[in-house]
Assembly symmetry: C2
Homo-oligomer: 478 residues x 2
């Protein structure tokens, strides 16, 4: 009885995907609503996932020579106003500090929505010569954007991220660096989170406020909506000129450096939930799961069971993240459901009969497949299982992505497909912002990106029928 | 010539300690002023020190079962007002957000000065039974306090810290946990930062706003002023009652949990600068130095020198944090001064003659002692040197602390000593806030703490002559 009730607490995934998502966030104890409207608290289980992603990213950035710094949380309004496109993009959604202590401020300060302008002022101060370049700096922290509608991880007034800000001697070096960062994001999302990505360039309408080019990794969720998972922007010398960042180049002349900025955010947790989850709850990719193996003792009141379970836990802890659920006020059945809902990749069951046979039972979260395993082989079996589960989760997403990708040649096909199948639409595009705008207004479908690997589908723009310039992947988005 | 000028950029430490401090922050590239008044940017070299400290602390907290979370940056005013002592302590120094996007807020939000109130609302929501306890949560981030006078690391409008917030079933368990945290702080400050601490309890006048007891680790700077390096507070059930955090206890009754909160901050970087620095600049304790060994090639234009230096760098990099300074536009002499100023614990010099002999020269930053070392022994020699340097830096601080600690029995002695010798004063105290206040007003000396190891110096209060209750360590503070 207790078990069934437990699963009933989660909305059916096919009935109401949005409510299912919120249920998972709350019931799996990833996040919770707070007294600050639009802000969530990230709970230990959610934050541990974020830490696992962040620690990996931080190591990869450092391999490229990136160094961490901190810049002020609050930014004077006059600074934000310096780069025209940038302020237009961000000013409408910032929070303003107007009072500090007892004093009314002469100039109001915004809580940073992003930190290009403050990095720029410091770069202008620090940069002298081409010998100083590149500056490869990154900041871990949070930013605030005054969103009207919020959802845990996907859109909140405060979110967590890293923001990289680099300046380079040449445009080519800067653009190359953007791609190196995109490679790290691809690695993280595919090889850690088990979600396939499409890599590409944003159209001008969809690029970052102040950027020359925005590169992106796009992912597809279970419901067929797209989620932008990470971006890397080439800003050219827009900010260098607006903030007078200059250096003496190799010929002794003053020159402007080329700026890049890039980020992934805590919304990656949202991507994990929506790419992999099912009716039983969360399903965590093994490589970022805070608990990889949960040990559930069977008949734990019987002699030796807990003792043996503890020995196994200690033994496995040097290779895996292991939790022993020895609570004596819940049944084993309740615990099965509980840890399935929390998305733990492997359950290890051990009871008196298993102990007699020198075995344990391993149960996969992704397929629910069970297997009896000799205790002496546990490490080897578990390592293989982790890789298998990862691969299966990735393949499942990729298959779904393929099923939900449709080539369309005209607006009728586009409208029909998006209503019937959601997903990615591949279509040719003439390159005009007007056609993009028209598609968006008609269908709520946006261009996701011009993929690095373009295909030739047709000669004509899906919208206006004019000569096609690019293949674009389109979709509705989170 | 170039070398001398370089050192001249730093104010003489004995002439103007405050200016020397600022010079080190800026010239050693630890931090810099920003366009946001009272906020600094922490540069890569400064942030790497903070990371080394934080990563160590984070591991130690996790060994105690502490888990990381995030709570909102912005807190509604009504929440801040709920605990009387707390709001009195913090309200005068918070920054207020009054506008979000285009809308004027109905209730203003403060940028968190600390997060007790928001943790409390969540604990009230999450806690049900004694079985859930303890909650051992910590948050890494920054907070804002509207300081009027600011100095890099020591007092800035935004500072970086961790803030631990735990709740426990019993008062005893909570108090024990406070001490476990204080043990970690002691370990970090003595064994990583090489600064001796005095451990003790704050007097009621000096404790945290809302606390029952504040435990502290106090350190002494080179100029004889004290710096509070870390605190751990037992809040009793003050916040539990104010925020209605309750649980069903083992007898089935509703009970209030006992709350602790604790922090060290980025001001520890200030402590490192002021405890160890000298006329040549920064002096970094080896265990937290971002660069432990800097290799300076001699006559690097000669064949084989750079090649050999690179081989050594690669070799040592598996055991130490190594930097090779192969800049071709600076002399070796300039580099010596540069890296001394940056406080790198050991310089490794290698030139054509050393290569011939199969040797390198190691130079200690703390004593400037030089030693020729066979290349095959480098790892062993360096490891020993790191430990020796650490120990010598710690001993030097301890010796200074002993020299600058004076027992005083009356106000005349107290006034005279603080003017002549600064430092710690040990004196008996009757326990009254009036005497503390009088001493503070007269001499700007505050009680640092009642040490855990009290001595009996006298029977009478240093101020009023009444019966003494405690021995107190006093001092002027940062």
């Amino acid at each position: 009885m207790k078990n069934e009730e437990f699963v009933k607490e989660i909305t059916n995934i096919d009935e109401d995907f949005a409510q299912w998502y919120t249920d998972i966030c709350i019931k799996a104890e990833l996040a919770d609503y707070t007294a600050s409207k639009g802000f969530v608290a990230i709970r230990p289980y959610g934050y541990a996932i974020y830490e696992n992603i962040s620690n990996y990213e931080d190591k990869e950035f450092k391999k490229l020579g990136v160094q961490n710094v901190t810049m002020p949380l609050l930014i004077p309004e006059s600074l934000l106003n310096k780069e025209k496109d940038h302020v237009e993009g961000f000013a409408p959604e910032v929070a303003w500090v107007t009072q500090g202590g007892e004093e009314e401020l002469e100039e109001r300060l915004c809580v940073r929505p992003t930190s290009e302008v403050i990095f720029s002022t410091m770069y202008a101060k620090w940069l002298k010569s081409w010998r100083d370049l590149p500056f490869l700096y990154n900041q871990w922290g949070s930013v605030v954007r005054w969103e009207k509608e919020t959802r845990p991880f996907l859109r909140t007034r405060e979110f967590f991220w890293h923001e990289g800000h680099t300046i380079h001697e040449t445009a080519e070096e800067a653009k190359d660096f953007c791609i190196k960062i995109l490679d790290i994001y691809t690695d993280v999302i595919e090889n850690l989170l088990a979600i396939p990505v499409i890599r590409g360039k944003k159209t001008d309408s969809e690029k970052f406020a102040g950027a020359v080019s925005t590169f992106t990794v796009e992912t597809l969720m279970r419901d067929g909506k797209a989620l932008q998972a990470g971006t890397s922007h080439y800003l050219g010398d827009n900010f260098s000129k607006a903030f007078n960042i200059t250096f003496q180049d190799r010929e002794g002349k003053q020159a402007y450096p080329h700026y890049t900025t890039w980020a992934t955010t805590s919304r990656l947790i949202g991507a994990i939930i929506m790419a992999h989850g099912d009716d039983r709850g969360l399903k965590l990719p093994p490589r970022i799961a805070p608990i990889q193996v949960v040990i559930v003792p069977i008949s734990q009141e019987k002699e030796e069971v807990l003792e043996k379970a503890n020995v196994i836990k200690e033994r496995l802890s040097s290779n895996f993240k292991v939790k022993l659920d020895d609570r004596d006020n819940y049944t084993a059945g309740y615990k099965f459901n509980y840890w399935e809902m929390k998305g733990v990749p492997v359950r290890l069951e051990i009871g008196p009969k298993d102990i007699e046979k020198g075995e344990a039972i391993l149960v996969r979260r992704d397929t629910f497949e069970k297997k009896s395993v000799k205790l002496e082989n546990l490490e080897k079996e578990l390592q293989e299982l982790m890789d298998k589960i990862h691969q299966n989760m990735f393949d499942t997403c990729l298959k779904r992505q393929e099923e939900k990708t449709t080539v369309v040649h005209n607006m009728d096909e586009l409208v029909k497909t998006i209503d019937e199948n959601q997903g990615y639409l591949k279509a040719m595009w003439c390159g005009s912002a007007e056609c993009e705008e028209k598609i968006k207004n008609l269908t709520a479908v946006k261009s996701r990106c011009i993929p690095f690997e373009e295909e030739h589908l047709d000669d004509k723009c899906v919208c206006c029928g004019g000569p096609a310039k690019h293949m674009v992947v389109w979709g509705r988005q989170y």
